[in-house]
């Protein structure tokens, strides 16, 4: 009996020891750090904006966010963001009430038009916010979309 328990104990100890030794525990810490800076992980709109580096944004009528007033299927909501602003380098799309509001980020290269179409899932009725980076400033526009049945999670 003694020998058996002795074996058991040593096995348990070596297993945890190995886990720490090979660094199985360490990546968890590193991951947690990365998540902080990742806007896709932010759970509120303010946090998401902050994580994306947007401290202030101005509402602009030069941006249009096209989306249906009433989404027929919340799992597929077509959204179009286009802007007549010049020097657009970035377009971000936020869905305010989603579990993770930061939906997508499009970095436009040289010679690209400031127009993007994409489809999104929506948890519930919410504002869809398009944020456009022109020069060093951020401009935004929003559109309310009504959802009758959620598309995130079941």
């Amino acid at each position: 009996m003694k020998r058996r328990s002795f074996l058991k104990n040593t096995l348990a100890v070596t297993a945890t020891g190995a886990a720490i030794g090979t660094g199985l525990v360490v990546p968890g810490v590193a991951l947690a750090k990365e998540e902080k800076a990742n806007p896709f992980k932010a759970t509120s709109l303010e946090e998401a904006l902050k994580a994306a580096g947007i401290t202030e944004h101005e509402e602009s009528d030069k941006i249009t966010v096209k989306a249906p007033d009433l989404a027929e299927n919340a799992a597929v909501v077509p959204v179009e963001v286009n802007s007549s602003l010049e020097d657009v380098s970035e377009i971000r799309i936020f869905i305010a009430e989603n579990p993770t509001p930061h939906a997508a980020n499009f970095a436009m290269g040289e010679g690209s038009e400031a127009i993007v179409k994409c489809r999104f899932k929506m948890g519930k009725s919410s504002d869809v916010i398009g944020v456009v980076k022109s020069g060093d400033k951020y401009y935004s526009a929003k559109k309310a979309v009504k959802v009758t049945k959620g598309g995130c999670g079941g």
């Binding site: 896709f40 799992a75 597929v76 909501v77 869905i95 989603n98 579990p99 993770t100 930061h102 939906a103 997508a104 980020n105 499009f106 970095a107 436009m108 290269g109 040289e110 010679g111 690209s112 038009e113 127009i115 993007v116 179409k117 994409c118 489809r119 999104f120 899932k121 929506m122 598309g151 995130c152 999670g153 079941g154």
Partner: protein, 104 residues
């Protein structure tokens, strides 16, 4: 499980602009859905899409799980016929896919 992702790409030139349209067949799981037993289905979504024309990057998209299943994307860039447009994507489980088309 054999996974198959199909990437479809369409490019069209009109008046100095090239319209790029693409659809990738991909489940785009959010990590919030549950299976019949109540276990969470791990998230699985495309994280990065890079579109290049003649080896020059015209657009990079970073996506979250909020993008719909079988994501569709459309945008324009200034280009001409003869450009080679290439689209490459990577998801959070390190699957990769790409498609290439020449603008007519």
């Amino acid at each position: 499980m054999a996974k198959k992702f199909k990437t479809r790409l369409k490019v069209k030139e009109k008046g100095g602009k090239v319209n790029v349209k693409a659809i990738v067949s991909h489940p785009m799981l959010t990590g919030l859905t549950k299976d019949k037993k109540g276990n969470k289905i791990p998230e699985h979504f495309i994280q990065e899409v890079v579109v290049t024309a003649n080896d020059k990057v015209v657009m990079t998209a970073n996506w979250g799980p909020a993008v719909s299943k079988d994501p569709y994307i459309s945008f324009d860039y200034e280009g001409q016929s003869g450009d080679v447009v290439k689209l490459a994507w990577t998801d959070n489980q390190d699957n990769k896919g790409e498609a290439e088309k020449k603008v007519k």
